[in-house]
Symmetry: D2
C-alpha cells in the first residue's frame, strides 16, 4: 500500500509534485449538509504559503485552491470534494545542478533508492509543497468542527532556544500579530531577531509548534491501537521536518512521580491539572487536548556543503536558490490542519460506538 491517503472516515488522498501542473486531492467522507466557506480555506492556505513575510522563503505562489466537486450552492452533498492548486513560479532551472546530487538530510537519496527514479525538481513529491493539500482538507474539517463548537489554538512556542513559557489558549488575533505566530510579542521579537541572524548566516533554525484544542467531546479515540493521541502523533510525524511530539506533560513527565503527575478529578468531571493533555487511555476526556511538535532546522542552507552524487562521488552542494530560515511560522497552519482532520475523523468514527 502506498501512503497518499490519511484518515479512516474523513479521508484525504493527495497527489502532486513541487514542479508539475498542479497538486491536489480528494476529501472523502465529508458529512453532508454543512456550509463551507471558500474564503476561510484561502485564509488558511495563505498562512502556509511561501513569500508571506521576510522571514520565510521568497518563492511566490498564490496557492489558490479550486474545489471541483462535492458542493451544491456551497453546501456539502456527502460526495467527495476534489480540488486542485496550480503550481506557479517554478524556477525549474534552479534545480538543474541537483539532478544527480544527494543533498544532506534531504530525501533525494531515499526516493532514488526506493523508486529507482525521482523528480529532482524542487524535491518532487518530498517537497513540503504537498502540505498545501493538507491545509485545504484541514480547513474543511475545521469548519465542520466549528459548527460543533470545537476550536483550535496553534502557535509557535519555541524557536531555537527562545521559548514561550505561557502555554494558554490564545486567540487567532493574538497569534497573528507578528510574523513568527508567537502570541507573546516580547518573545516574538527575540524569535524574529534570532531568525534574522541565522538567515544572515545563510543558516536555518528549528522550532516548536504548540496546539491546543478545546470543547472536544468526551469519548473520541479508538483503543487499543487507534488511540486519539496515537493518530494525532502519526499525523504530526507525517509533516516534513518533524522530529518529536509530546502530549500534556510529555517528556517532562519522565522525571515526575505519579503523585505529582496524576490529574485529580473535580466534581464537574474536569481535572485540576492537565498533564494528560486531554486524553486518558487513548480517549478524549473533555479537557483541552494539548501537544507540542518539534521541527528540526530546515535542511536547505545557503552555505556550501560537502556531499555525494548518484555515483557516490564527492561533490560540493552550493547554497543558492530560495529557502526558509525557519519553517515553524508556516508550519502552524499545517499542524492545525492535520489535527483538525484527526479530530473530525474520530468524531465520525465514534458515532458507530453505540447502535
Amino acid at each position: 500500500m502506498a501512503g497518499s491517503s490519511f484518515g479512516s472516515i474523513f479521508r484525504l488522498t493527495s497527489f502532486g509534485e513541487s514542479h508539475g501542473f498542479a497538486i491536489g486531492g480528494v476529501v472523502d467522507g465529508v458529512p453532508a449538509g454543512v456550509r463551507i466557506d471558500l474564503e476561510k480555506i484561502q485564509i488558511d492556505l495563505d498562512k502556509r504559503k511561501p513569500g508571506q513575510s521576510r522571514l520565510v522563503t521568497q518563492r511566490k505562489e498564490s496557492d489558490t485552491v479550486q474545489l471541483l466537486s462535492g458542493l451544491l450552492d456551497g453546501v456539502t452533498t456527502g460526495t467527495p470534494i476534489g480540488f486542485i492548486i496550480k503550481n506557479e513560479d517554478q524556477h525549474s532551472s534552479d534545480y538543474d545542478h541537483l539532478k544527480d546530487a544527494y543533498r544532506p538530510s534531504h530525501a533525494d537519496y531515499t526516493y532514488q533508492q526506493k523508486y529507482g527514479i525521482r523528480d529532482h525538481r524542487g524535491g518532487g513529491r518530498s517537497s513540503a509543497r504537498e502540505t498545501a493539500c493538507r491545509v485545504v482538507a484541514g480547513s474543511i474539517a475545521k469548519q465542520i468542527l466549528e459548527s460543533l463548537g470545537i476550536e483550535f489554538s496553534t502557535y509557535v512556542d519555541q524557536i531555537g532556544s527562545v521559548k514561550l513559557e505561557d502555554n494558554s489558549f490564545f486567540l487567532s488575533d493574538a497569534i497573528e500579530t507578528n510574523e513568527v505566530r508567537c502570541p507573546d510579542n516580547r518573545i516574538a521579537e527575540k524569535m524574529i531577531e534570532l531568525v534574522e541572524q541565522v538567515r544572515a548566516e545563510g543558516d536555518t533554525i528549528g522550532g516548536c509548534v504548540k496546539c491546543m484544542i478545546v470543547n472536544v467531546p468526551v469519548g473520541l479515540g479508538e483503543p487499543v491501537f487507534d488511540k486519539l493521541h496515537a493518530d494525532l502523533g502519526k499525523a504530526m510525524f507525517s509533516i516534513n521536518a518533524v522530529k518529536g511530539v509530546e502530549f500534556g506533560s510529555g517528556f517532562s513527565s519522565v522525571s515526575k512521580k505519579g503523585s505529582e503527575n496524576n490529574d485529580q478529578f473535580l466534581p464537574n468531571r474536569e481535572t485540576s491539572t492537565n498533564n494528560s493533555g486531554g486524553i486518558q487511555g487513548g480517549i478524549s476526556n473533555g479537557m483541552p487536548i494539548e501537544f507540542r511538535v518539534a521541527f528540526k532546522p530546515v535542511a536547505t542552507i545557503m552555505k556550501d556543503q560537502n556531499s555525494i552524487n548518484d555515483q557516490g562521488e564527492e561533490i560540493l552542494i552550493k547554497g543558492k536558490g530560495r529557502h526558509d530560515p525557519c519553517v515553524v511560522p508556516r508550519a502552524v497552519a499545517i499542524v492545525e490542519a492535520m489535527a483538525a482532520m484527526v479530530i473530525l475523523d474520530h468524531y465520525l468514527r465514534n458515532k458507530a460506538t453505540k447502535i
Copy 2:
C-alpha cells in the same frame, strides 16, 4: 471503525480484557515458509510479564501463549496465526471498591463515557495486559526480520532524572544484566535505587526507552502520510502511558542550526552523523533507526488520592493491590515488539513499489 487492528499487510488484531478467560489475537499477513520458534516468543513474553523482579508488579501470570493455527510443523503457511494467552491469578475482588470510582489519570471515566459500560476489573480493555498480544505478534515479526539480518537493541535509557548518556547499539546480553534493562550497570544501579525509593514511598516514577534498529534496508516507508517514523510514532503512542516520542536528534534539534543538524554523506552512502535517526523524507536511509519513547509515571500509586465516582461525588481512592513502581523495564519488550511489527509491515509494503 474500532481500533483493535494494527498494520497494513502484517497485521495484528487483538482482543481481551484483564479479567476474562483469555486475551489473544490474530496475526494476518505472515509470509509463508518461515520457521517460528515458540520458545523465542515465550522469552519475549517473559520480559514483559509481571512478577519477574522485585521492581515490578507482583501480579503473577505465567503468560503462556498457545498458537492455534497458521503453522505446519513450525513453519508458517501464509494463513493467519491465531493465539490465546489465558488469564490467571485474577484477584477480581481487589477491584470491587473501584466499580463506581474514577481513578485519577486512568481510563475509567473515558471508557464509561464512550461506551456507556465498562469492565472495571483490572482496568478491563484499558489495562496494559493487552500488550502481551503485541509482544507475541512482535516476536513473530522479529523472527522473520532476523532472517533478513535486521536486529534490535532496546533498553531503558532514563528513569526519573537518571539518564544513560551512551546511546550505542547494545547487545541483548548487556541489556539483560540487570532488572531495569539499562546496559550500563553503574547507571542501572542508580536507577534501581531510585525505583526502590519511590516504591517505598508508595509512589511511581517515569522513564524512557531507547530503540535502535540496524541493517534496515534503504527504502522502507510510504510517503506522504505513512512515513516510516509516522507509523513508528503511532505504534509507540498506542502503548499505555507513552507521552512523547522523538527520532534522531528529536527535541534537541529545535535549538540547532541546519549546518549543525544536517547529516553529511560519506562516499559509501552512509552519513557521518545520524541526527535523522535513520529516516529521510519518511523513508529508511540504511543508517540505524533510532528513537526514544517517554513513559509517564504509572497512575496507580499506593497513596490515598481524592477523586470522584460515577455520580460526580468526591471519594477517596485507597492505595492498595499490586502495582508497578516503574514500568519501563517491562515496556522494553513492548516497544521492541511494536517497532518490529512496523518494520516488517513496511518491508512487505515496499515489495509493491516496483512491478
Copy 3:
C-alpha cells in the same frame, strides 16, 4: 494484504484450519450496550454444522463456540469479541493419500503454488470449516439488527433443476420444516429425492440460496464503489463454491425492456415491483433486499477421478471419506451470516453521513 478480515466498521478477522486445535476469530466494532444471546449463536451454528441430517456430510462436530471477551454479563462493552471453536472428530489419516495429490476443482494446487506450502489435512484453510466463524459473527450481527427490526428470510430455492417459484418472505418455521431448508414441502420432497439419488451415485449436485431482508432503513450503501449490493456480492462470492450472484430481477433483466423492468413509485415511497432488489444506485431504498446465490456441486465426489500429483504425474483419486452430496442446506446459515455482517456494517457506516 492478506484477506482474513471482512467489513469496515463491524469487522470479522478469522483464523484456523480444518485440522488444528481450533478455529476462531475476533469481531471488532461491535456496538456497546447490546445483549447477546449465546444460545442463538449456537442455533445458527447448528444449522451450518456437519452431521445434522442424512443429506449432508456425516463428519460429526459439536461446533461449540466459546466467547472469550467483549461482554460483561452478556452485554457488549464495545471492545472486541474474541472466540474459538475447537476442532473435533478429525480423521487426519483420511487425508494421507492426498498429501501430494491435487484434487480436481479443489484449492490444493493453487494453495501450494501461492504459498509454497499447504496443510493438506481436510483442505486446511481452504476448507469450508472456516465458515463456522462467519456464522458466529453473523449471528452477533443479526441479534443487533433484530433490535432495529431488521429481519432475514434465507432458504434454498433451487437444487439441480428443481426450483421453487414462489420467492416470498418465509418465516424461519417454514424454512426449518425439512432437511433441505426449502419452505415449500412439495418442492422440498423433490429436492430431497434428487439429493438422495446423486448421493447414491457417489455424486454431488449444485443449488441456489435465496436471501430476503426486510425493514432495512433507506440509505445504506456507500457509492460509488462500496455500493450495498457490491459489498453483498463480494460477501457471497467469498463463500466456498459460489459461482454466481444476482440481485432483484438479476440475469433475467437482461432480456427485459426498461419500461418492463423499472419499478414504479407508489405515494408511500414504496415501489409496485422490486426488480431493483431493494437497492437503487447502490443505496437501500426501503424495499426488501433480495438476491440469489448459485452454488456449484461440491467438488469432492465418491467416484474415482483422474488427476495429477505435485510432480505433475497422473494419479487416480479414490472417492472415499465423508462428503456433502449437496451443500446448499448448510449454506443457508452462511449466506445469512454474511448478509447480516454487510447490513450491520453499512448501518454503522451510514451514521457518519451527516454530522
Copy 4:
C-alpha cells in the same frame, strides 16, 4: 467510511458529478518505472464515451483526460497520479423538471434520503459519468499488466435475448468491428437490429458483457475473504446497472453434478475444462479467468412514466433528453477497466505472500 476508493495497493479514489467543472481521481500505488502511453488511455476512454455511435446516447463529450502528477517523461515515479476530465456539453436545463422528481429505478430518492441533499443535474454523483475515471485508472493498470503478458478480451455476448454462444478469447480487432462490440458480426447485426427497434419505441434493453483474461499467473487472490473472484465480483457490482455476475459455469453449474462440473487436471497443470473460470479456492489457477456481467435495461426511457415527487405526490415523468437505448457496448470498457484494477491490485498484494 465513504466509498470513493477502490483497491488495496493499486487504488483509485475518484470524485466528481455529472454537471460540475470536472470529474477526476487519484491513482495511488502505481509501481514505479513503467512507461504509460497517454494515447492508449484516450482510446479506452473513447470506447466508453457518449456519442460514439448512433446506438448510444448523443450527449457529446470529448472526455479528454489530463494527468497532473506521478510521471516523469512518461514514466511512473511511484507517486500518485492525479487526473481530471473536464465536464462539457452540459445541458443542465434539461434536468430542471427533475429537481423535485424521483425517477423510477434511478437513485434520486435514495440519494435524497441518505444525504438530505442531492445534485439533481444529470444524476449528480450517481450518474455513470464517474465511470470515466475508472477507465483512466483501468487503462493505466492494463498497460502495467501488458508488460507482464496479461491480456484481456471483453465483449458483448448478449443483448436482450440475442446471445453469442461462442465464448472464445477474441482479439480487440474482432470486437471493434461493429458498434455493439460483439465479435461475431452475424450476431452483432441481430443485436443492432434489436437496439434500433427498442430505441424507436423510446425504450431500452439489457445485455451481458463477457470478460476473459489470459496469462494471469497462478497464485493471485487472498483467501478467505478477498478471494480473487470476490473482489472481481464487487468490482462488477459497483458498476451502474449491473444486476448479476457469474464465474465460469456460473448459474448453469447449479443443475450440474460434481462429476460433470469438476475440471480435470492435465499433466501440464492446466485443466481440460474451465468451469472454475480460472479460479480455485479464490486463487487464480493459471487458466483463463472468465466471467459474465448482467446489465439491466437503462432506467431512463423516452416514454412517459408515472412517479412521485419529494412530497410523495404523483407526477408524470416526461421522456425527454438524451439517453442510451442499450448501455452494454459502452460498458465493455468499464468492465475491462475494473477487472484490470483488481488483477493488478492482487498481483501487487501477492508479492507479500513470501518474504
